[in-house]
Subunit: 445 residues, 2 copies
Amino acid sequence: MAEQSQMEKMAIEARKAARAVQGMSTARKNAALDAVHAQLLASKDAILAANGEDRSKTKEAVDAGKASSTLYKRLDLGGPKFDAVLQGVRSVAALQDEVGRVSLARELDDGLELYRVACPIGVICIIFEARPEAAVQISALAIKSANAVILKGGKEAEHSNRALVEAIRAGLKEADVPENVVQLVSTRGEIAELLKLEKHIDLVIPRGSNELVRYITDNTRIPVLGHADGICSTYVDSAADVELAAKVVTDAKAQYPAVCNATEKLIVHRDVAATHLPTIGAALLAAGVTIKADEESMRYLPKDEKVIPVVPSDFRTEFLDLTIACRIVESLDAAVDEINTLGSHHTDCIVTQDTQAAERFMSNVDSANVYHNCSTRFADGFRYGFGAEVGVSTTRTHSRGPVGMEGLLIYKYRLYGNGHIAAPYATGEKTFTHRKIEPKYRVEQ
Amino acid sequence: MAEQSQMEKMAIEARKAARAVQGMSTARKNAALDAVHAQLLASKDAILAANGEDRSKTKEAVDAGKASSTLYKRLDLGGPKFDAVLQGVRSVAALQDEVGRVSLARELDDGLELYRVACPIGVICIIFEARPEAAVQISALAIKSANAVILKGGKEAEHSNRALVEAIRAGLKEADVPENVVQLVSTRGEIAELLKLEKHIDLVIPRGSNELVRYITDNTRIPVLGHADGICSTYVDSAADVELAAKVVTDAKAQYPAVCNATEKLIVHRDVAATHLPTIGAALLAAGVTIKADEESMRYLPKDEKVIPVVPSDFRTEFLDLTIACRIVESLDAAVDEINTLGSHHTDCIVTQDTQAAERFMSNVDSANVYHNCSTRFADGFRYGFGAEVGVSTTRTHSRGPVGMEGLLIYKYRLYGNGHIAAPYATGEKTFTHRKIEPKYRVEQ
């Protein structure tokens, strides 16, 4: 047998830890989260010192023009942020345990009962940006969902992540839970090695750029739960209320433009272009937004230096800043087609007072999140009430949209018999009843 | 823009068809299934003629020693088989429609309501063995789940598949449903091209050999729902009833050994080796099974020329014939460890009268199907009552175990507001209620 690499050892340890915790009771998992909370609190000084080290390095990079001030701001774990991060651990402890939930209970025949029961996936490798609180959130969700995780955070947060994971592992140890439920790697080379270990790793979740997701899917046989662009649209229908439209579009674009659920495209029905675009345009301009407009919408938008001609590629662009592309369409179906063809299937909204039009839009737009009369900015695990999220998925399998605890679970089928054999069903001597039964059974948590 | 290849055109047509049918009502889908049923019946002669062509070609190969008689038998669509295939279409029509099912209904705040609603995945490419009825089953499930499928069947069934898919498409056309919900390709080269089209294809389901699954995962960015070996075990616990054990093990091994859910390993607790192995061994031998036994179990098994020494690799082998590997372990935990380490996470069973031992085994064995006191042969979509199956998944994401209609679905989040914007929640001016609500909403089917 070939010698095990360091990464293979790590993955095997993760598998062992995952197997050891898969059936852990809710009480034990919550006790572990409490211990993690206590250790994070006890290690506050060390964590903030490590965070300071990351910040001063990044400050130098910002001053040298080699890093963005947004990155610098995101790194900060001090002040109320630290308390919020700790509070996050308690929120996860407070979540209802989804492990053990029965999603199918069926009698196959007299005395032969089938249950489909939620269980952890196993070993998950999660790669995330330089945002140290993510290490804590993801670890908390891993503990509550009884998975083992191997984390790789952005390199700018390296010291912070190390200090945080050290405290988390100390908490696990104290609670007599295998520390290897949470492990940390820090280099791209280590990730490259881990991607080859499909035998030991069950899922990879890359957060971050399209390029990262593409690199991962190109280099692994492990299933990937990824996140492509967020090219979100808000469509103002012919039956839209103009004030509501202006309010929703402006929030969707400008409330926090650097995120994937911000609206990048404004699509307006021709019938209301003349009546609605002046108001919507004025609201966007007042919020500091640059509007890249097609020829027709240009006629109705306010004359302003920030209203400029759009180019075709703008309709496929995730601006991530105070810029929006604007176009007019002749029908709801044309809007749906535009969104399905040029969007990224993340979050898309219709503004209309016509509920039938809303239903048609929501049924036909092929996106993870489809909205009626509200800002696309709501597409987020916390806002959905998931307590914490590991990311937002734009894949169409396993878990779509904001991924919380349920996204880290799969299920197994449990079949209880009393000496039942297949032969008499194969010959037709016996037939299945396939009768729905009450889920009397639930794994004790 | 580069010229579109034939396969790209096909995938784009599939996407269009998928978009057209995604919101189709249950009534229309069932009407389409009825029309497909009628067309298959009307085309019976043409289908059986095509099937005859495949069979005579394969017969030649069998006579020349180049194909197995099992393959030849599987190809046959005549006699009662044809009626069973048609009945299968009706069974799928009778299934409850899972599209539109609400799995989460939550008020985020006053007037802001979130629903998670099941919807089709989109475009699915399914590769299956030379078993022509699979083309019909899979097409029926695709129609009922409102997905578009691109099918590739085993080359030995090429003419049969072509005739079947022609009839299915005629039925779709008659029911005014896009024919391209079901498309067929016939060569490996076409599959190789399709695997590159991650933009148009959302999921690949390869049925068949490990090598096929590996080839697919190595050559695509599209998510793969695969099926590895079926190295299933039956563990006879210290508290097992001997007669029940003999009956269950024999059925699990010998009722139909050429399939993935047949038991390949018999694991016996040391405490009952002397009392139980003679009876279990005799039952297996009576069913024509060769037992590859470890040294210790050899002492208790009947002396017979079909009881031979096991070699270590046998414990990692999917025999798929009347052969079983047999070993003795010192504890339930050792059995669990053996199964988790050397098994394939498909289907594993404990035989015991001790319900606590059964629960521990079922919680700790990390397989898609975990059984108590019944044959591993029950792991099958029909037996589970799914009406039809597209395969059995041994991946740990999306869909695990037998994959029926639900395995072809994902969900979208629908959020209904009345001008709700994110800003007041970001500032803390408003807070979310996250209150469970009754799922008043259901997509009309």
